[in-house]
Symmetry: C2
Subunit: 429 residues, 2 copies
């Protein structure tokens, strides 16, 4: 007999079915026992007569298969239930479960959750986080493919860093010293110059940052795109607005069940996301919130406050900050006058989820800016050579997948949105 997944049971009312999954819950009454079986698509209630079999001795989370008749019958899960005719244990649990995962909430602390990751991910809310995350990544790709972007895969073992060379993990590469890439920045720019014009990559990046905050991961998934023949960074921001709109619509459409499980309603992007110059944001923080110590970049509190302002005064949960100071942006950033740059961050609910901007495409200007940042052009020849042979004006951005997931789902710690997070102290599992 062929297995039916639980989401498809509806088509088989009155028929005999075979289902397989995990034993989620058991409730024994006098004459019958109710059990709930869970598979990747949902849960279903089954009824066993105690005279037929005593299933209360089977440990929860054992893998079982059930054959029975699917009958109409209302319960909290479905308008049907299964009258069990046979039950087979496929792989039995022998030990006590270290955590309880069949409740509406998983009531354990973060460390316990991550130490028991395989079990905690079976809890329905935790499970839904990564179904949503998969949809976000797919939405990112689908939208860009429709816009003529080419998917690329660039190396994560690199000889030089894109962001100035600090906070890199060192790799022993045969006789040589190499590093793990902090971003695909150089390579995606090079691919624009290689004639693809529009490229994207979804891949791991690495930051050897010492701090261990709820917003940092040492390994995370970066969703990058880069595009040529732009006028300026505004083209990138417009592309991102449309991209986010597409992703949100995809989540509404294909992630409905999981958003409901997570009790989440998504933000709307109805019209343009408001833009503030970075210097204007500092002004607002000074005047409205008496926050005077900022310079060059916002701190976490500054990000929260300016997002509060955007929500209350500008009616948006998203906010573009533009024209970041030149001395705070990497060497590839296109300057805008002496002090500013053609760059932006996108903040969402108090957190930066995107950094982007226009890049320098002129060879001489690039060398000059590398020196302006106190770096040596000789160390970047593999990259800078590209600019000798016809590089179009271009720009791009990077969105942190885990951060975007966390902010959309209202999760306070970004570790919740990484299957197996790597942080200052965590390497296992």
């Amino acid at each position: 007999m062929k297995r039916t997944t639980i989401e498809n049971l509806n088509d088989y009312i009155g028929e005999k079915v075979l289902i397989k999954g995990w034993l989620h819950r058991v409730r024994k009454l006098k004459a019958i026992t109710f059990l709930i079986l869970r598979d990747r698509t949902g849960m279903v209630q089954c009824v066993v007569e105690n005279s037929f079999m005593d299933i209360s001795s089977i440990k929860l989370e054992s893998v079982i298969s059930i054959e029975g008749i699917l009958k109409e019958g209302s319960n909290t899960l479905n308008p049907f239930e299964i009258m069990v005719q046979s039950l087979e244990i496929i792989n039995e649990v022998h030990e006590e479960l270290p955590i309880e995962i069949n409740k509406k909430q998983l009531e354990v602390n973060l460390d316990t959750m991550l130490n028991n990751r395989v079990l905690s991910l079976r809890q329905e809310k935790k499970n839904s986080i990564f179904k949503i995350q998969g949809l976000i990544a797919q939405g990112f790709r689908e939208f860009l493919i429709n816009e003529g972007f080419t998917e690329i895969f660039t190396p994560k073992i690199v000889a030089e860093g894109a962001e100035g060379g600090t906070d890199m993990f060192e790799v022993k590469y045969f006789e040589n010293k190499a590093y793990l890439a902090q971003s695909p920045q150089f390579y995606k720019q090079m691919m624009v110059g290689a004639g693809y014009e529009r490229v994207f990559e979804v891949g791991a990046v690495y930051r050897a940052e010492q701090h261990n905050t709820n917003r940092h991961l040492n390994e995370y998934v970066s969703m990058d795109f880069e595009m040529g023949f732009i006028d300026n960074e505004e083209d990138i921001m417009i592309m991102e607005e449309r991209l986010l709109k597409y992703i949100l619509e995809k989540l509404e459409d294909q992630g409905e069940k999981h958003l409901k499980t997570l009790e989440i309603s998504l933000p709307k992007i109805n019209s343009n996301i408001p833009r503030l110059k970075f210097s204007e944001a500092l002004e607002i923080l000074r005047n409205e919130y008496s926050k005077t110590e900022l310079e060059g970049d916002l701190d976490p509190e500054g990000e929260k406050l300016i997002c509060k302002y955007a929500k209350e005064k500008l009616g948006s949960e998203f906010l573009f900050l533009t024209h970041y100071p030149r001395r705070k942006r990497p060497m590839y950033t296109m300057p805008c006058g002496e002090e500013e740059t053609h760059s932006f961050d996108l903040l969402f609910r108090g957190l930066e989820i995107t950094t982007g901007g226009q890049r320098i495409h002129n060879y001489a200007m690039l060398l000059e800016n590398i020196r302006y940042k106190g770096l040596s052009p000789e160390n970047y020849e593999g990259y800078t050579n590209t600019f000798k042979y016809g590089m179009p004006p271009h720009g791009g951005l990077a969105i942190g997948l885990e951060r975007l997931t966390a902010q959309l789902l209202g999760l306070a710690n970004v570790r919740e949105t990484s299957l197996f997070p790597r942080d200052r102290t965590r390497l296992i599992p």
Copy 2:
């Protein structure tokens, strides 16, 4: 005026258009000069009157924009050409190009090609390789998403190796020693057990292998899937047949232009891919090709010969070899009797492009098999704990993206199908 990409020019015959791209070729006649402009979508011939402008002094590959009238007129590229009214140099090339890229073939050796990667990728055949590669990766995902698989992102910085712990790159992870993942094997199995049942990942993997052959990369893209509730490895092989069929159809459909540029016709998977037991393959190699020294695994010559046999005798360019010896397969492989395993390789045109099989799902059997392989279960607790709490029967496979691309496109060296290959000696660009 808004830029039109070259592939869309057809809609604007008789109108004024703006195009942007690279100066591909120039041919000066007495009164007029022909130039070919190239953008990400194609090439178009443009005509400039010499009395208007002398463009023969502009170096090839300069980035330019052209406004002009699109007129019908036949040439080798299109049934139209552009009568140039104005031409602007956006970013000029000043140096001599190190390689010539506007010919039908790129006539340089592999090292020169890779050293000048950004330029060599502009050559039309080289360019098309990675358009095809993008489509392969997308086809892999699309098919699996339709089959109920969830996309996952698992860490590449790991504490322990899945394939026995040799050939791993070492990473300095703060105070600790860590490694780059050789495969997402443990994690994808764990995700099956975490209730997702069916998962896939497209991501980088790392092999610190010393040999520097035309079939090895030290960093490559692995397309992995893993699925639960299987009967045995045959379920995985059937899924792969359908997957490959889907990918090939997608390439025919969406990659037509690039296949034509590459002068490639794709193989057909009409019916089932033939299966041979590994022991049968050895027998055939002994009897038909007098190849007697093999044991445990095929060598490159063995792979080529058995593929020759499959093509001539079994009528297929693809061949599944099954039941590999237990002592040659990793500890997670499901044994089949004392000597063999429920595992397989897929060979295609003389090269292994997939390794897969059923995995052990029973906790006690897994510990026993880890010891059988001479390893210590204590070193794998983060992984083995998963099997205590209800793991379904499961299996999966990994396809090397670069190898599949190379074999489909008839490229002899896998480096041709990696944008920026990492091998024994190459770290730059």
